[in-house]
Symmetry: C2
Subunit: 341 residues, 2 copies
């Protein structure tokens, strides 16, 4: 029985602390939440929770504050994802529906997410390696200079230039184009790259491989395996950092630095890429000590939620139920849009 009450106390403390930003004491707790026991009882519970590592005191004779472990328990067992209001759903839909291309979808997503959660939002561009090739276009800019346009299912467009040794006739160009598309179109990136590679691998006693084809394929394969573009993320809502208030140097500075480091962001989001659920990383649970006072709430989006990730990063003291709901809602909506287009 007391076990149940203790959890209720922890939940109440998390809620109050998130709301007020101040350590919460026993007396205030009994008043705000109608627990029908005395402050002294609560104090005993608090002491127990502190022993177990769910609460901490900033200093003796101050109220209690949840620890990372406390938040973790709260997120895992004490909270339910708060459903979005229809107004919020409509806001997401209205805002994202106007998007014209992939860039636009990503940029708008970042904005809604930042606005809904009042946190810093991060959206990863659809992963190149998980897309399929929709089409490859080859255009002659001059007789010896080709423009390659690689169009992917995710809506991403990559372009590359190729300089040729010799001039290329129109019919040769057409042949080249169709051979390449035959090999690559519809395939997942890795497969397409392999198929293209096979096109130019010399066969003993087979026909000679044209130099132009080799050059084009080399460039395409390189573009396909260019994981740099996998590493692209968009960040928004940094103005929300202003609400951090206290402790500029200890929490905002490292966070700003992390936001500039795309690699760090990707690793943070990456953990979330999994199957369907919203992932929450609290405080020092990750490998980055500098971000000890921040949490990351993220999830995957796209087919199987595996195309890429999006989420937010904010102080450990945040409204987890609401934030998780917003992240999930936006991810779902983005998935739907990508699916339709």
């Amino acid at each position: 029985m007391q076990e149940e009450r203790r959890l209720a106390v922890l939940r109440a403390i998390v809620q109050d602390y998130v709301a007020t930003e101040e350590p919460v004491g026993s007396k205030a707790l009994v008043e705000r939440h109608h627990l029908n026991v005395s402050p002294a009882t609560i104090r005993n519970d608090m002491a127990a929770l502190e022993d177990e590592g769910f609460l901490a005191q900033p200093h003796t004779s101050a109220g209690r504050v949840p620890t990372d472990k406390g938040y973790r328990l709260f997120v895992d067992r004490l909270s339910t994802v708060k459903p979005m209001t229809t107004a919020e759903r409509r806001a997401i839909a209205g805002f994202l529906d106007g998007a014209v291309d992939l860039d636009d979808v990503v940029n708008r997503s970042v904005r809604v997410l930042a606005q809904l959660t009042r946190q810093v939002a991060v959206v990863q561009y659809p992963s190149l390696s998980r897309s399929t090739v929709r089409h490859v276009e080859v255009v002659a800019l001059t007789p010896t200079r080709l423009l390659l346009v690689l169009i992917l299912s995710s809506g991403r467009v990559e372009q590359r230039h190729v300089e040729l040794e010799a001039e290329l006739a129109d019919d040769e160009l057409a042949a080249l184009r169709s051979r390449i598309n035959l090999a690559a179109t519809g395939e997942i990136i890795a497969v397409a790259a392999a198929a293209l590679d096979a096109l130019v691998r010399p066969v003993p006693d087979g026909p000679e491989v044209p130099a132009a084809l080799t050059a084009v394929v080399d460039t395409l394969v390189e573009a396909m395996s260019d994981h740099r573009s996998d590493e692209r993320v968009v960040v928004g809502g940094t103005a929300n950092l202003a609400r951090f208030g206290e402790s500029f140097d200890t929490s905002i500075r490292p966070l700003l630095e992390a936001l500039e480091e795309q690699v760090v962001l990707l690793r943070l989001l990456g953990e979330a890429s999994g199957g369907g659920a919203v992932t929450v990383r609290i405080g020092t649970e990750g490998p980055y000590e500098e971000l000890s006072s921040t949490s990351v709430v993220a999830t995957g989006y796209g087919p199987d939620d595996a195309l890429a990730s999006l989420g937010i990063v904010g102080p450990t003291r945040m409204d987890y139920p609401g934030t998780m709901a917003a992240v999930r809602a936006v991810a779902r909506y983005v998935s739907r849009i990508l699916d339709e287009s």
Copy 2:
């Protein structure tokens, strides 16, 4: 004679204040800069400069601080653009040379700029309206669904989908593609849009305009006049905000908000678009009261420095000579890269 010394005093104050962040007093001035006069003399000069509005006192009996007007005079008449060291030049070159496409150039520029100036860097994407059409590609995804790829001289690629009423045969597609390219290729955006429009304007007694052509042209023209994409900027180096130190609410918060507002950024940069020189906006000289304690240093880049703008925004208390040099150097280098590719 004293007039000259007064300007020297102003210059010295600006330099010292930028270096130390502290109001500078008469005694410290004579010591650091070997002015061969006594502190009392300097005090008289300072009083005069204050009367003229170039200096201010935080409070009675503190040292002097330059006003916006003081910085302005300093920038206009008392400073020379500090030449970049060869190491810095090499850093810019080395960093930007690796860029593979337009996105990459822009992103890398932001980074170098932020790193060189230790300020928040802003780079505007090459303006769509000032580019020419390099090529239009039309690809049939299905018999009734076309993908249009619009490739511009600035390296920008726009893509749009078109849904057709009726199926389109391969030779019709080829004809359509060549008619469009004939009309648009090589032209500046506005001209290309007009030429395309003319293609589908019905001529009395002329041949009927194919529905497919109309649909494609409409979409292209819309994409060309889509000024939304004109409004794209990239921001970097926000971690440098951490160095603002003092006055979070009065300077950093509004700045962060401005950085999120692309429109504001564009207007700030926009003023710089002019001919060749580096523009400096100091404090309240612009229309944004919220940014009263920040300055913007910007310049154009691209052909005639008119393609788009880049620059930095930072506290009015900044190293103007060094910053201006960095902005100019990066702009020149970016122009060169865009020119070559």
